[in-house]
């Protein structure tokens, strides 16, 4: 009798000895013998076809400390280490970007085994993607070809399956339409137009939003149609998009209303007497907020939606009398909505004074929106100016928003202004919460050479007010700056340590 094979044994065990009448002990003995043979004699899978090897990368490797540092920074998201100079994911991503920029300048790459972690970080954080090619090198492309999640590194966004449009969830359909819009704006619009009437209302707003990609006057007709939609959300999306089309009929209607209310030559103001249906359709909200007169509100609403090019550049130089605040607020809203840096720069000083004087939350929000629009070159000077009058005034006008947009590393004037303001504020025992936001930004954006200055400030504060909550913020800033300084120093040092092993 030939020895039973493994499948025979398994079959016998599946049936059970009660039914087959076999001897359980003997069966188990056979199982043991067969199983061990199987374990010891595991068939070695015929070596499959090898993938083509990755291109050889001759770039010099990193020194050990630099490699250890980037490995540490690339560790999984959401790891919040207390006492670490890297406080949160956003800060970590900024440091990875700074590391990458320095590495790329020195012509260095992350070690091969860290390239997957780098690809993963850049998949989650779009801002790191430009660094994949210079810092991860050709190996990144070789790896990305093996894993669909990393396909983002090729310029072409992955082509979503057309089935997503016909059968997908709303999110999948939005993703599909967005991708189509990149490739073929007209075709995507036609798809949406064809489906428009049958589309459930909640999907319409989200799908319409994809027209923001490659927006052009060709989209105007669909947007006008959406202005008559029953859903407020859909109308709002359409209005937002129309505001970015200065040649549209909507813009022309708004311009006509604006020019009827304000004479740009004489600056005589004649606000609208009512808010009719057509105005409401074009987005003018009929009811003013508390404290604002109806006619002034309608005027502001019209101005906020009127293309700024209809106004002469010197409009603000002339006196509009009692209507000046309404006029300026409307123009400021238009500047923010249309992203017009010139008008934003012309209005920001007035609005800053307004925020300081009247402390209206709506004005503060509008001011922050203007900051987003200001030309980058103006930001450093503006931040330094705001900080000159002390941290309290500066945080009241949202200096952290200005600083946040100020390109890193901050120029010396900004660095000086930040240190002076912190020093001054804390010396007078100012509130700690005003310090936190500025310190967190400064930790990432100050030139790392400022680390000793920050450490000295932290030490001085600690000696003077050891219990002050602000000490921790400043100490963290100092630690982060030191971390960055070491990071850049070890990258510059190169792989000298390699020689001793």
């Amino acid at each position: 009798m030939s020895a039973p094979t493994w499948p025979d044994v398994v079959a016998a065990a599946l049936v059970g000895t009660a039914r087959s009448g076999a001897d359980a002990d003997a069966l188990l003995d056979t199982v043991a013998a067969r199983a061990l043979r199987r374990r010891a004699g595991l068939p070695l899978a015929a070596a499959g076809p090898l993938p083509p090897p990755a291109p050889v990368d001759e770039t010099p490797t990193l020194g050990r400390p630099a490699a250890a540092r980037i490995a540490d920074l690339l560790e999984a998201d959401g790891v919040r280490r207390s006492g670490s100079p890297v406080r949160d994911t956003a800060g970590r991503v900024e440091m990875i970007a700074e590391w990458s920029a320095a590495a790329a300048r020195g012509g260095r790459r992350v070690p091969a085994e860290l390239v997957p972690a780098f690809l993963e970080a850049a998949r989650r954080h779009r801002s790191l993607r430009p660094w994949v090619a210079p810092v991860a090198g050709p190996l990144a492309g070789w790896l990305a070809a093996q894993r669909v999640e990393w396909s983002y590194i090729s310029d072409q966004p992955a082509r979503p399956a057309a089935a997503a449009w016909d059968f997908g969830t709303t999110a999948q359909r939005v993703a599909y339409l967005g991708a189509q819009r990149h490739r073929d704006p007209g075709g995507a619009r036609a798809l949406l137009a064809a489906a428009w009437d049958a589309e459930p209302p909640e999907g319409r707003a989200a799908l319409l939003g994809t027209l923001a990609v490659n927006l052009s006057t060709a989209d105007e007709q669909l947007l006008e149609q959406a202005l008559d939609d029953r859903r407020r959300q859909v109308r709002d999306v359409a209005l937002d998009l129309l505001a970015r089309l200065p040649d549209s009929a909507h813009a022309a209607r708004m311009s006509a209303r604006a020019l009827a209310a304000v004479d740009p030559a004489t600056l005589r103001v004649n606000p609208p007497a009512g808010c009719d249906r057509a105005m409401r359709r074009d987005g003018v909200a009929p009811r003013p907020p508390a404290g604002t007169g109806e006619r002034a509100w309608w005027l502001e609403e019209i101005l906020a939606r009127t293309p700024l090019p209809v106004w002469p550049r010197d409009l603000l130089d002339r006196d509009a009398g009692e209507w000046a605040p309404t006029l300026r607020r409307g123009l400021a809203r238009a500047a923010a909505a249309q992203g017009d840096g010139g008008w934003a720069a012309a209005l920001v000083d007035w609005l800053t004074a307004e925020v300081v004087a009247r402390r209206q939350p709506a004005d503060r929000l509008l001011l922050e929106a203007l900051y987003e629009t200001l030309p980058v070159d103006d930001l450093a000077a503006r931040a330094a100016t705001a900080l000159r009058d002390g941290l309290i005034g500066a945080t009241d006008v949202g200096v952290d928003r200005v600083l946040a947009r100020c390109p890193a590393p901050w120029p010396p004037a900004v660095a000086d202004a930040v240190f002076r303001a912190l020093d001054d504020h804390l010396a007078r025992g100012g509130a700690a919460w005003r310090v936190t936001a500025v310190c967190e930004l400064a930790a990432l954006r100050l030139p790392p050479g400022q680390a000793p200055r920050a450490a000295a400030l932290a030490q001085r504060l600690h000696d003077a007010h050891p219990r002050d909550a602000a000490v921790a913020s400043v100490a963290h800033m100092a630690a982060a700056l030191t971390f960055r300084r070491e990071m850049l120093a070890e990258l510059a040092a190169g792989p000298t340590e390699e020689t001793d092993t």
Binding site: V10, G16, T17, A32, A35, A40, A47
Partner: protein, 444 residues
């Protein structure tokens, strides 16, 4: 006690130092402190003490902290209040030494005192070891013999019950067994614990993990039968196999008995380490291979919650030491170190896939219950095959343990070219632990 003469201690690499750190923040702190002005005095002394790196560091206390490291063990001491072990001062003084920033000077008084105190404890331990080698100190021997006999009877009864239970399991067929919850297995495991056979109990408890895999379940049942039936005719087995079997059943072997066996001296190359939770403990397995003997060795260590491992076995180093093997021929205790660990640039004992598998088969023949085995594969390429990965050379391919996931770090390090991979082989596949690209070690 005679001082070990170590004339030339090989300098450690910074990596080797940092791998001793209990966590990443200690590494950072140590790096920052290494270049600091806080160090008032540092030195390396090997004149009339074992090679020692020491330093005085001005911390937040009035007195500077005294930090010293005996490089032979290594053993650490620092007077700072930190609860981390080793603390940042210890690591940073080692970093300075690794960076050649420490001069050789005569040992100061406090270092001398520390080493003298240590020499005393070490020699006490050696005396105990000596006693153990001679079979204990006489007095307790007869009593322990009686206890051993009593235990043997209980274990035999427990395993006889296991044998009957195993036959019962097969009565209704495997299909029914797969549907049973862990309580079913737990009941038998508890009876084996009572019978003082914790090794067998663990194997029974593990059966619950194979509920969805009838073939694996059947395999493990077969191996348990081998254990139970083998124990009943223990006396007729070859002595080595009998000792292995007793160990697998869970009859403990005292460390003193292990240390009493003939030690094996070699340059033990540390291949890799893996930590795995087991109940409340974390078990660390460190795998070694002898450079000249080629023998595989496993150093086990355990840490409870919030504890750190005190092992200093760093992958990518080699240790000239005497090791004593447990009866199953894989697990070891370190009996004596002839020199501090030295950096390792490549592993001597490497095999192609088919030879590695043959070697494993031999190990399995000696110990059928062997769960894990260290392999060093010479020149393999990670290849994706369907949803799984394998490590291939021209002689064949070994599957990567699916529990590891896609081994992207290894794939990237290889870049499609062959490299040396050290890993831990088990029934589900290979868990890669380290790889060498040229002479650079990558921990996976």
């Amino acid at each position: 006690m005679p001082q070990p003469v170590v004339s030339d201690v090989r300098r450690w690499s910074a990596d080797q130092v940092l791998s001793l750190a209990p966590d990443a923040s200690a590494q950072r702190a140590a790096r920052a402190l290494a270049g600091d002005k806080a160090w008032c005095e540092v030195g390396y002394s090997a004149d009339d003490v074992p090679p020692t790196v020491w330093g005085l560091c001005q911390g937040s206390d009035v007195q500077p902290y005294q930090t010293c490291v005996d490089l032979t063990e290594p053993a650490f001491r620092c007077t700072c209040p930190s609860r981390k072990f080793p603390c940042k001062h210890t690591l940073s003084v080692l970093l300075r030494w690794a960076d050649e920033a420490v001069a050789a000077v005569p040992a100061p008084q406090w270092v001398r005192e520390w080493q003298a105190a240590r020499a005393e404890t070490v020699s006490r331990a050696e005396r105990q070891e000596e006693v153990a080698r001679n079979g204990g100190e006489g007095s307790g021997r007869a009593a322990s013999d009686k206890a051993a006999t009593r235990r043997a009877t209980r274990v035999a009864a427990g395993l006889a019950e296991l044998d009957r239970w195993l036959a019962d399991q097969l009565r209704g067929g495997l299909a029914g067994l797969s549907r049973l919850g862990s309580a079913h297995w737990e009941a038998m495991a508890a009876r084996l614990v009572d019978a003082q056979a914790p090794g067998a109990a663990r194997l029974v408890r593990n059966l619950a993990d194979y509920a969805g895999d009838p073939e694996r379940l059947l395999t493990e049942l077969g191996l348990l039968r081998l254990l139970a039936a083998g124990f009943q005719r223990l006396d007729s087995l070859p002595p080595a196999l009998a000792a292995t079997l007793r160990l697998r059943v869970g009859i403990p072997v005292g460390a003193e008995n292990v240390l009493a066996t003939e030690p094996v001296r070699d340059r033990w190359q540390i291949l890799g380490a893996h930590d795995e939770p087991e109940g409340d403990l974390i078990v660390r397995r460190v795998w070694l291979r002898g450079a000249t003997t080629g023998r595989a060795a496993l150093v086990l260590s355990f840490a409870g919650p919030f504890q750190v491992f005190s092992t200093d076995l760093v992958p990518g180093t080699e240790l000239d030491a005497d090791l004593c093997f447990y009866p199953e021929h894989v697990r070891v205790l370190i009996k004596h170190r002839h020199a501090p660990a030295a950096p390792l640039t490549g592993v001597d004992w490497r095999l192609p896939v088919d030879a590695a598998m043959r070697e494993y088969a031999e190990a399995l023949a000696a110990d059928p219950w062997l769960e894990r085995w260290p392999m060093v594969l010479d020149g393999v390429v990670p290849v994706e095959a369907g949803r799984s990965w394998s490590l291939d050379d021209e002689t064949g391919g070994l599957p990567v343990d699916p529990a590891v996931g896609a081994p992207w770090r290894l794939v990237a390090a290889a870049g499609g070219r062959p490299l040396t991979v050290a890993g831990e082989w088990s029934a589900t596949g290979l868990r890669p632990l380290s790889a060498w690209v040229g002479d650079r070690l990558i921990r996976l």
